[in-house]
């Protein structure tokens, strides 16, 4: 029940929202249920500290036969950050998303995403993971196109087709893996792979298919094209939700998959993961620096930042996995907040083109400072969370003997700083070019809840930098569990 509630809360909202017609009540219920979800996720943290890995067997079927929900420290951390971000974005959306969209199910589908994301973080079964992916994707397909503007429809066709193909890769991989090993339970599969260590080559097609599926979802280097083509089309509150949660689910699954399966053949996979991570880092950041749209720059930076997590996964030491988890959390917070600020700029000016914007700092210093915090946290300036994230990644890389990749990460950080300074100068600092001052109606409606969300995230980013040590300690405990799959197997399947 303790884990099941995280699925039940969004599900209850979905059912209630179907019955209720009034937009006002839907909005209040959305805030209520996202608060409940946050409180429940917070309650899981002390439980996981005490029980280490929480396992729930659905329907009372014992482990390899039924569906297990599993949450170790890593999952719980992800669930908590997801719940926090989701709550703030729900509050933000009450003022940022227009009434027509809210009436037509904006909150309904965001809760669909929440349910899918929560499910994916807890899935202990490969096919179950696929189903949660689909729940999440289906809701996100609709959210991208909700509103039916031309660019939205265009973006959603690209988003939809590439993500469907990634799902097909994933399912084909699951089918082949089942055919070879006869199980779908992650723990059971991992155990069986250890027994079949001599003939692992026969599993490679299945593993590669699943790996490609996760890489498309996580927007890694050769597979990222859907992301910058679609993330800047929906309303900013939706982009923020996607940027904070969706690719991170792909990366989470990749880390889980790597630590349970791929490490058996580390010689090959380590190279693949390192190359893909390094190339995502470099290409994402270079593509971003040529853009002149606020949200497009941030979208390309998602690819680049995901690369940091993946190279840390490639180093594959305890310190490196600690760094990967820490960086993932930092990135979810900072990236979401940057998108929230973009949403405010869009609301005030009706455009996100850097060339025609300007003077935003004069307009509202508070929002300016909030952007400053999240952007320079992404760029890795102390004392913000990004500094410690990057520091941990670099340190673990050099310790593991991958100095070249670590130096590359440092170099990419420089480019990130360049893009962030560019946005800062163009949007907030420079004088707005007079000939480009458009007729955009001054928005009279208050934006205090938008500001509240962004302030809360900004505070979280600063707090994560100031209290980096206890968080890193928690991440380290999570990394130790990840590096010890036999513990995961024992908790899920019971002591052998």
């Amino acid at each position: 029940m303790i884990l099941f509630a995280l699925l039940l809360i969004p599900f209850t909202y979905l059912m209630l929202a179907l019955l209720i017609k009034k937009a006002g009540i839907k909005k209040r219920l959305a805030i209520l249920f996202s608060t409940l979800n946050l409180l429940w996720a917070m309650a899981l943290v002390p439980i996981v500290q005490y029980r280490e890995i929480i396992v729930v067997q659905m329907g009372g079927w014992s482990a390899p036969f039924g569906i297990s929900l599993v949450a170790d420290r890593f999952s719980v951390l992800m669930l908590l950050v997801t719940a926090f971000i989701f709550f703030l974005i729900t509050v933000y959306a009450t003022q940022s998303v227009d009434k027509a969209r809210r009436k037509n199910g904006h909150f309904f589908f965001t809760f669909g995403i929440l349910m899918g994301v929560n499910g994916s973080f807890m899935a202990g079964d490969l096919f179950n993971l696929y189903v949660w992916f689909e729940v999440m994707l289906m809701s996100s397909f609709i959210l991208v196109s909700l509103g039916g503007e031309r660019k939205q429809l265009e973006g959603s066709i690209k988003y939809l087709i590439l993500n469907l193909i990634s799902s097909l890769f994933f399912v084909a991989g699951i089918g082949l893996l089942y055919g070879k090993l006869g199980s779908l339970n992650l723990a059971d599969l991992s155990q069986k792979m250890e027994l079949a260590r001599a003939n692992l080559a026969v599993l490679n097609p299945a593993l590669i298919l699943i790996f490609v599926g996760f890489s498309i979802k996580g927007a890694l280097f050769p597979f990222f094209f859907w992301l910058p083509a679609s993330y800047h089309t929906p309303p900013p509150a939706v982009s923020a939700l996607f940027a904070g949660l969706l690719t991170k689910v792909g990366i989470y699954s990749l880390i889980r998959f790597y630590t349970l399966f791929l490490y058996y053949d580390a010689g090959f996979w380590q190279q693949v993961v390192l190359w893909m991570g390094a190339l995502s880092m470099v290409i994402g950041v270079i593509a971003a620096s040529s853009q002149y749209d606020f949200r497009k720059i941030l979208s390309f930076h998602i690819i680049s930042q995901v690369g940091y997590v993946v190279i840390a996964l490639g180093f594959f030491t305890e310190a490196a996995l600690t760094a990967a988890i820490f960086f993932l959390v930092h990135n979810m917070l900072s990236k979401t907040n940057a998108f929230l600020v973009a949403g405010w700029v869009h609301r005030e000016k009706g455009t996100l083109n850097l060339k025609v914007l300007g003077d935003m700092f004069k307009k509202s210093p508070v929002w300016g400072i909030l952007f400053f915090i999240s952007a320079f946290s992404l760029a890795g300036l102390p004392p913000l969370s990004g500094f410690f994230g990057k520091y941990l990644v670099l340190q673990s890389g050099i310790e593991a003997g991958y100095t070249g990749v670590a130096m590359l990460a440092l170099f990419v950080g420089l480019f990130t700083l360049f893009s962030m300074v560019k946005i800062w100068l163009e949007v907030f600092w420079k004088k707005q070019p007079e000939d480009s001052a458009m007729e955009w109606p001054v928005n009279q409606k208050p934006a205090h809840w938008m500001l509240f969300s962004s302030l809360a995230l900004g505070t979280a980013i600063v707090a994560m930098g100031l209290w980096a040590a206890p968080i890193a300690e928690y991440c380290q405990a999570a990394a130790q569990d990840l590096l010890n799959p036999s513990k995961y197997i024992e908790y899920v399947l019971g002591p052998s």
């Binding site: 399912v171 055919g179 779908l184």
Partner: protein, 117 residues
């Protein structure tokens, strides 16, 4: 029988990839449907196929020869995958219809406005 189905799956994948690479959005969508059917068949085949064996264990039987009964799990997986792809197919066709309404085109080359230039 496995060989025939395997070759058939290969053909389906080839058709699907060919359709996905076409310029018309409708053909791309049809290609995705073909690919998803091919994937369902992969699951079916990889679970092992037995001729005429039901997925039941006779009552009171202590041991059963695995060659005589079929594995119910891949079939359950396919059923789930079919249901999911049904929902997605309905949605993607509606999206295509709406897109055609707004723009009056189904040429993929017209979809360049949101790209990263």
């Amino acid at each position: 029988m496995e060989y025939i189905i395997a070759i058939f799956i290969g053909l389906l994948y080839a058709c699907g990839v060919y359709l996905v690479l076409r310029r018309s959005i409708v053909k791309v969508i049809l290609g995705v449907f073909v690919l998803s059917n091919a994937t369902n068949l992969i699951i079916f085949l990889s679970g092992g196929i037995t001729r005429g064996g039901a997925a039941f264990i006779p009552e009171g039987a202590e041991t059963v020869d695995p060659a005589t009964i079929s594995d119910p799990l891949p079939q359950a997986l396919i059923l789930t995958a079919i249901v999911i792809s049904l929902g997605i197919s309905a949605y993607i066709l509606a999206l295509k219809y709406r897109y055609f309404d707004v723009t009056g085109t189904h040429d993929l080359d017209q979809l360049k406005n949101t790209d990263q230039r």
